[in-house]
């Protein structure tokens, strides 16, 4: 069970973020999560949106450079130290996390994190066996 993440190359991260969010807003696309990674020279905008395909089309027309990746959305257990619990499970299984960022699914009060790992299936199995709930595409699309 994965969700889709849309990434955009952003040379000027704030300028690009503004034009991307404006373009998506105009097209009626809801941005559920936004993460900006940047280095000295450029940035990468990563988003979880309610309609990835449509969002990609909109941005491609704006001549943005985009890519879509399958990532894991993980519900964080609703207790103090919930995120640590998830990270501990992954560390115990020697899972290498490339990056993660938090977001909220409207239908749920719990916080979620997006996890980018090498092997989605393996990590999904580890988390499910540990009783951790994953975010589905329907969770993202539905309200």
């Amino acid at each position: 069970m994965t969700i889709q993440q849309l990434s955009v190359f952003a040379e000027n991260r704030f300028g690009t973020t503004l034009s991307v969010t404006e373009a998506l807003g105009k097209a009626g696309i809801d941005i559920r999560a936004l993460n900006v990674a940047d280095s000295e020279g450029f940035g990468i905008l990563r988003m979880i949106v309610d309609d990835t395909e449509k969002a990609k089309n909109v941005l491609d027309q704006e001549q943005c450079i985009t890519s879509v990746a399958e990532v894991l959305g993980v519900y964080i257990p609703d207790s103090p130290g919930g995120l640590s619990e998830v990270l501990r499970i992954l560390a115990d299984h020697q899972v290498n996390i490339e990056y993660l960022y938090a977001f909220i699914v409207k239908s749920d009060v719990n916080a979620c994190v997006v996890l980018r790992v090498r092997d989605n299936e393996e990590v999904e199995q580890i988390l499910t066996e540990a009783g951790i709930k994953l975010v589905s595409r329907e969770d993202i699309q539905g309200l």
Partner: protein
Amino acid sequence: MGPFYQEEIETASREQILAWQNERLVKQVRNVYDNVEYYRRKMDEKGVKPEDIQSVEDLYKLPFLTKDDLRDAYPYGLMARPLSDCVRIQSTSGTTGRRVVAFYTQHDVDLWEECCARAITAVGGTKEDVCQVCYGYGLFTGGPGLNGGSHKVGCLTLPMSSGNTDRQIQFMIDLQATILCCTPSYAAYLGESIIERGLRDQIRLKAGIFGAEAWTEEMRHDIEQKLGIKAYDIYGLTEISGPGVAFECSAQNGMHINEDHFIAEVIDPATGEVLPEGSKGELVFTSITKEAFPLLRYRTKDICILSREKCSCGRTHVKMTKPLGRSDDMLIVKGVNVFPSQIETVLLQKGLTSNYQIIVDRVNHSDTIEVKVEITPELFSDDMSTLSAREKEIVDALKSMLGIYAKVSIVEPKSIIRSEGKAVRVIDRRNLYKG
């Protein structure tokens, strides 16, 4: 007047210089025709026989040589002597095809070093002087040329080579260097470093000979002020011998070409037609005394003006202005020849868009080069370390192609400005050729 290293030659009458040139040219053309098959074929194609060249006035009949010929004939095709007669090679940086490899007999090394000795003497160098050479030593002609010239003059020579500024300053002070030879940008940097360290009153420099890159009058004043010296220009190219083909005298307004060894012409780069004295055009050299690698009518691609006006220093050899530009798109960055096509080759090899832009600048007296590349879907990744690694791959490939570090900036698509649909490939912010 003076001082001179070889007074009779340097102050010879125009008639005498012309007589030397006529005699040496006729001999050299015969020599090249008989011994360099590549050039013989060029002459045959043009229908020119050695006997058609009776004096300098006939020079225009000979075919040109260009960097393309050097590439076609690489490595031995333009040699007039067997390798066993040669004692040295020197080379420019760059990859095969762009790299120039020149061969020297002992006679060729001697005449080259004599030219450098004239340059050192012209700035006041004598056997009492201490000459610090911080051009690179090795294949690059800068270090070996000035080193040899300094020996011929009898200076105490400090063969420092480039880099290691702290050591340069220490030797300059401890050994009381009086003459400095390096690139003008390094001279400015040294000057700044000396002032920063509060050592300005401990140096004894009186003159500097600065070449291998273009520099402005503003830079000259800046260096002169910082180091408390007179700063002089020197010109040369590996194809013709190295630094010392022409050098500045006390008048500091143009460089005397060593006409007893090299005949200079200025041509229209578009038509190849020889232009009258005082016209701005491409500089062409004919080596009339070299043995191993005697190029006839070699097109330098440097734009300049020649003048035979009487010079206050007493020298009678023709003067050339500083290069006023290039007739091709070559850039000189940190003393290294860079062609935009080399950068394009690397980018295309990496599967990148051919839409790129090269920005050359001079920051704190040091050249910088930046290559902006528009991102493509293939280059992009949502993972920062992958994207950074791809960027670094381009940096490494450029480094191995050019021999110098070029900063790579990945930019958004369509963000490189196009003028009338054509991308502006090179932006040189150094303004080196303004006069």
